[in-house]
């Protein structure tokens, strides 16, 4: 998407529009080629009017803007496609659905023939979604092509003529909608089924380490990100969270670690209520956390490895002498972690940003484990790592599980989840769609739940 809209440049390969090979060096080239992109997060100037936003970035007219004429044109376009808009309204006054209409009209105004919509329904109410689909239908009739990116199978089956499934940067398949079922698509989305290979030991039947009951929280955009989530993680168990990224996983990790406030529900750790505690209190009660953004949140990339290793332990008695940090102890600790987890680095005083992704993750995970946590939360711990590093991370996780630590593992990689998890909970739009044991899951069932298709098997079992 970013390549087609000119934000990134392709390393190789060709792009054709209407049979003509084109090069897209910048967003302007994309617009000239007739490609219009509606991003998931809108690119609008809040304090500008609708018409101003629509004309923004266009090369014509060069100097004088005839706002009245532009407004008329915008109005005409919006009427033609049934997209109700007031061209004079300011963006901040509009609802999310209306803002999306502005984005679409902007692309029509620029005479885009190919329209790319990235997860357009993510922010819409069901009613707005229906209106959007009607608009798309009308645009199809006027001969425009639409690329509709979504992870919701139900929507694919509703609006698409043809379907392409992308997985890990490759085209997994392309087919006419009439030739495929949602089950087949779900399988294509998640890939081949792999034989589960978790070592034997099953979780002890003890009281859960972590319990969430009915937890609700808002996301950054003020929409409900967690919607009545309940789950349990026991000691010596890996609970996998499956789901397409952006369905509440990040918010889930944040409410547990105290980085985000819940609006209702309770979170408890070993029977102790830790709902809405500060991050420090949660850390002190024995929760370790490998965040999804390892450089952005988990580390201070411009500080040394030593400074990064003591990020959480600098307050402990071993690491300080009065108000001073005991840098001898810090050095020994760092050296120990570097050796134990085979972190390749240019010395422990080099900056953390110079570490490769795999080595940074090993160090981060090592740091989080070294505090002897009760619960370890690992969000996408192997994302972006090479196979060797990813395997190293996985074996550390299994090792910790076998030592009796409760682990909450969030991943998009179903193969990984099915190998490592004792149980898998599937998240979709901030809800837990179901929690499956090893003998209950199969890849198709997980895939359907991930795409928001309710678990028929489960319901059948209930009746």
């Amino acid at each position: 998407m970013n390549i087609l809209s000119g934000l990134y440049k392709p390393d190789e390969g060709e792009i054709f529009v209407k049979g003509k090979r084109i090069q897209i060096g910048s967003p302007r080239h994309a617009i000239e080629a007739g490609i219009g992109m509606v991003h998931q997060h809108f690119r609008l100037v809040e304090n500008f009017s609708v018409a101003e936003n629509i004309t923004l970035g266009m090369s014509t007219p060069r100097f004088l803007l005839d706002m009245a004429a532009i407004e008329d044109e915008v109005l005409a376009l919006s009427k033609e496609y049934g997209l109700q808009l007031d061209p004079k309204a300011q963006i901040w006054q509009l609802s999310v659905g209306e803002q999306q209409r502005v984005e679409i009209v902007k692309m029509l105004y620029r005479r885009a023939d190919v329209l790319i919509l990235d997860e357009p329904t993510a922010v819409l109410t069901p009613q707005e979604t229906r209106e959007l689909f009607a608009t798309l239908e009308r645009m199809k009739e006027t001969g425009r092509s639409i690329i509709f990116i979504t992870h919701k199978l139900e929507e694919v089956m509703q609006v698409a003529d043809r379907v392409t499934v992308l997985r890990a940067g490759r085209v997994a398949a392309t087919a006419d909608k009439t030739d495929v079922t949602s089950r087949q698509l779900a399988s294509l989305m998640v890939g081949k089924e792999y034989s589960p290979t978790l070592p034997g030991k099953t979780a002890l039947e003890t009281a859960p380490v972590l319990t969430l009951s009915d937890v609700t929280a808002y996301g950054d955009r003020g929409t409900v990100a967690l919607d009545g989530v309940s789950l349990e993680v026991k000691a010596g168990e890996i609970l996998g969270i499956a789901g397409v990224a952006g369905n509440g996983q990040r918010e889930l990790t944040e409410v547990i670690t105290g980085l985000r406030k819940t609006t209702s529900g309770t979170i408890s750790l070993l029977g102790q209520d830790i709902t809405n505690r500060t991050p420090l209190e949660v850390i002190n009660s024995g929760v370790s956390f490998v965040p999804e953004d390892r450089y952005g949140t988990g580390m201070a990339p411009n500080l040394s490895l030593v400074d990064n290793v003591i990020l959480k332990s600098y307050r402990t008695r071993i690491m300080c002498k009065g108000p001073f940090i005991n840098y001898d102890a810090a050095r020994r600790q760092t050296q120990g972690l570097v050796e134990q987890f085979q972190v390749k680095c240019a010395g422990i005083y080099s900056r953390a940003r110079l570490l490769s992704g795999g080595n940074a993750q090993k160090l981060l995970l090592g740091r989080e484990i070294s505090s002897d946590p009760k619960l370890l939360i690992a969000a996408y711990p192997t994302r972006g790592l090479d196979i060797g590093a990813a395997e190293a991370i996985r074996s550390i996780l299994i090792n910790q599980r076998n030592q009796g630590i409760a682990i909450l593992l969030i991943s998009e990689d179903l193969e990984e989840l099915m190998r490592l998890s004792d149980r898998i909970a599937i998240m979709y739009e901030g809800k837990i769609m179901g929690t499956l044991d090893r003998d209950e899951w199969d890849i198709e069932r997980i895939g359907l739940l991930m795409a928001g298709v309710r678990d028929v098997q489960h319901e059948e079992a209930l009746t």
Binding site: G298, L311, Y314, F324
Partner: protein
């Protein structure tokens, strides 16, 4: 999602040429750049000043020679340089502390004024105190006043996220007006005719000087402050928190640090150090309060902190350099050259430092086809 390595092609293949030039962003700026950038920047600033002098009809070489000789070549020049460097050093240490945490405390000037005001209040009110109580009492009052002034600028930031650049900057003017109010009003010395001056402080409120020079203890305070802040940042738990918050606030939050509390504490200390700079000016040099306590030391301190890359030892060196520049500015006046040449050199120094710094992040690569 992270941006791809920023590469920007300045020129595409030019027909007839077998190479192209590409400007790329470096992943890591080599360490030797840190040593080279100040030297290059100073050279460029002097060159820029020379062009300007030439255009306005002066001989750059003569002017620079006078500036250098009168500053570093005479006893008076050297002692005056140290006198001017003292408040610069203190205030630069103060603001650099906040800068380390990415808190843009532009209020050094106001904090100097408030420090001077509070110290004067102690000196003029408790006139009977002996020196060993008077001087510490003035310092405490000055530190408290400077700290509170910085706190006023930072509390809105800590609570509501208000931009501290604006609040600290605006508070500078408020502080200057307060000082003016007192010297024109309640504290005006009736014997000073119509000048806006307070009465002279009792001798006990005078900072000791070295020998018969004007160099006072403020220089020692400055060096202690620089080394102390250096130690604080590199060795202590609190300093560690400040560095982590400055480098990556979300990592700080993630590891349980209290960012709002640190914003307030760091600004308090930052302001307190500048406050002491103000106290040293009234207690060490003027020995009374006057309307103009500082000639923009609080602003120059910002330039110094940046030029020194917030490094304590660097700040000591750059403060001396800038103290010298101020003295040089006064000395060229005798020859009919405006003292503003020194201010201009200061400004262009910052400009070139920022420019060279930015360039150091890029490298030029010639790609042969």
């Amino acid at each position: 999602m992270s941006e791809p390595t920023a590469t920007c092609e300045k020129k595409d293949t030019v027909p007839g040429r077998s190479f192209r030039i590409r400007i790329e962003k470096r992943l890591e700026t080599p360490a030797w750049w840190n040593a080279v950038t100040p030297v290059i920047s100073i050279a460029l600033a002097l060159l820029f000043g020379a062009i300007f002098l030439k255009l306005t009809g002066y001989s750059p070489i003569t002017v620079y020679k006078i500036m250098f000789k009168d500053t570093f070549g005479t006893r008076y020049g050297i002692t005056e340089t140290l006198v001017k460097a003292s408040p610069l050093l203190l205030s630069a240490v103060g603001v650099s502390m906040a800068f380390r945490m990415q808190l843009w405390n532009i209020g050094g000037e106001g904090q100097i004024y408030m420090g001077a005001l509070a110290a004067s209040w102690v000196a003029l009110t408790f006139t009977g105190l002996p020196k060993y109580i008077m001087v510490p009492a003035m310092m405490i009052a000055a530190a408290a006043a400077g700290g509170i002034w910085a706190f006023l600028g930072s509390a809105p930031r800590a609570i509501w996220g208000v931009n501290e650049i604006l609040t600290t900057l605006m508070l500078n003017y408020v502080a200057i007006f307060w000082v003016e109010y007192f010297v024109y009003g309640p504290w005006r010395d009736p014997t000073a005719f119509l000048f806006p001056l307070s009465p002279v402080f009792p001798k006990a409120a005078w900072l000791p000087t070295f020998g018969n020079t004007r160099i006072h203890w403020g220089l020692i305070f400055g060096i202690i402050a620089a080394l102390g802040v250096g130690l604080l940042l590199s060795r202590t738990k609190w300093g560690y928190e400040i560095r982590v918050i400055g480098e990556n606030p979300s990592a700080a939050r993630y590891s349980g640090m209290n960012i709002s509390r640190n914003i307030i504490l760091v600004m308090l200390l930052s302001g307190a150090i500048s406050g002491i700079a103000g106290m040293c000016e009234v207690s060490g040099i003027i020995h009374r309060l006057q309307a103009q306590v500082s000639t923009g030391y609080g602003y120059t301190a910002i330039i110094i902190a940046f030029l020194a890359k917030l490094h304590p030892i660097g700040i000591i060196i750059v403060s001396l350099l800038f103290g010298g520049l101020l003295v040089a500015g006064y000395s060229v006046q005798i020859y009919g050259i405006p003292a503003d040449i020194a201010t201009m050199l200061q400004g262009s120094l910052l400009f070139f430092v920022l420019g060279v710094e930015a360039l150091a992040q890029y490298r030029i690569r010639v790609i042969r086809n």
